[in-house]
Symmetry: C2
Subunit: 236 residues, 2 copies
């Protein structure tokens, strides 16, 4: 099964942008009358019949709609400091999407070596991973914010977890998830140089629960994936 | 902390091969008298003092030994059909090592597109991942075998799991792990085209427990990592 994507839906018609039209018509040679599956990026799968089959302007008629296609029973916001190596960070975005992630925040900590992060490529990566793993919702990739701004922006009705390397009493992420019945979770993963003491204190003040990710020493991107999988595992 | 590696240990002396000697002496500029940490690849960390500091022939005196350094409380054998894209498979080997894996078998199924797999690069990758994640034991990368040979070669005193896509009653891997007190686990992950019906039947006959990996549609290499993470999570 192949999923196509459009966010331009008007009434019963779906319009494709030029990239998607090209892929649909030129690469995969679909023609008027073919039945295709389209995701709206918000969780709905649209069963469609192709109408216009030009590689410059393709459109399809919606035959039926399937809400919550490929959905997961939790809402996960993942905030991660981008790694120096971009490929590792992008890999993490792909895998987190495959497991199930709703929002990705690239965050910049006081000890971050990388102080800027452009989100365009990551947006394409999570779209492609969502298609590949048959999820009709595309994770939202937010613009870069500081760790402190992320901490201060979280809502109250959410289980908020922070993973850092400082010593101190910490639950495992597994225990912290088990102890909570909240299905809205956010996890904050620090940069290669860890959080500053001030960032950790602010997080604790704002109700974040400090967690560890087990005994292995994990790279930043592996730690982020470990957190995603811990949530996935809880609901497995 | 940086780990060096040697498998040439004679009495109280550690000898480095040319690659490692070059890295130690030329790149990192260690000199006679420097204290360094060396892993033997079998789980022991050796605290050493550098003796010979030539980039062609370096050696060190063992001051003390620490067994089980970076060890995990289970034994995991992972058998995975190599993906068409080599990079994805190698990535999986790296991440599985970071979490904790003991043996990796590249296996070839009846539906595998790839029928051969050379293990040299993977051996270097798991060595480097073991160093990076401070584990003194290097996962063993076995030579390629067929799925059927792998199935028939497993010992009795092991929890044997097989993840496949056919319909049928299956526990989640999390439940299967919870139901067993066995700390020796092997997991068999199929190729992109899944196992053949015959391979699945043979596995069931040989006591493999069929499991699913949750509701997400995962790529082969993500499925393998999901299995590793499920075991890691059990002992977290």
């Amino acid at each position: 099964m192949e999923l196509f994507y459009s966010n331009d839906i008007r009434g019963d018609l779906v319009y494709f942008d030029q990239d998607e039209a090209c892929h649909l018509i030129k690469v995969l040679r679909h023609r008027r009358g073919d039945e295709i599956a389209v995701m709206d990026g918000k969780g709905c799968l649209l069963h469609c019949r192709l109408e216009e089959d030009s590689p410059k302007a393709a459109s399809a008629l919606i035959l039926s709609r399937e809400e919550g296609f490929g959905a997961h029973p939790y809402t996960l916001t993942l905030a991660v400091c981008p790694t120096k190596n971009n490929e590792r960070f992008e890999w993490m975005g792909e895998k987190a999407t495959e497991f199930g992630m709703d929002v990705l925040y690239p965050v910049i900590g006081e000890h971050s070596e990388r102080k800027v992060y452009k989100t365009e490529r990551m947006k394409r990566i999570v779209l492609s991973a969502a298609k590949q793993s048959l999820k009709a919702a595309i994770p939202l990739v937010e613009e870069c914010v500081s760790v402190k701004d992320f901490i201060c922006s979280r809502p109250d009705d959410e289980l908020k977890l922070i993973a850092y390397c400082f010593e101190g009493q910490k639950l495992s992420i597994k225990e912290a998830l088990q102890n909570s019945s909240c299905s809205k979770v956010s996890v904050l993963i620090g940069p290669e140089g860890d959080f500053s003491a001030e960032e950790v204190q602010l997080a604790l003040d704002k109700g974040f629960v400090p967690v560890h990710l087990g005994t292995s020493r994990l790279r930043t991107e592996t730690a982020a994936l470990c957190a995603v999988m811990a949530v996935y595992n809880k609901y497995m």
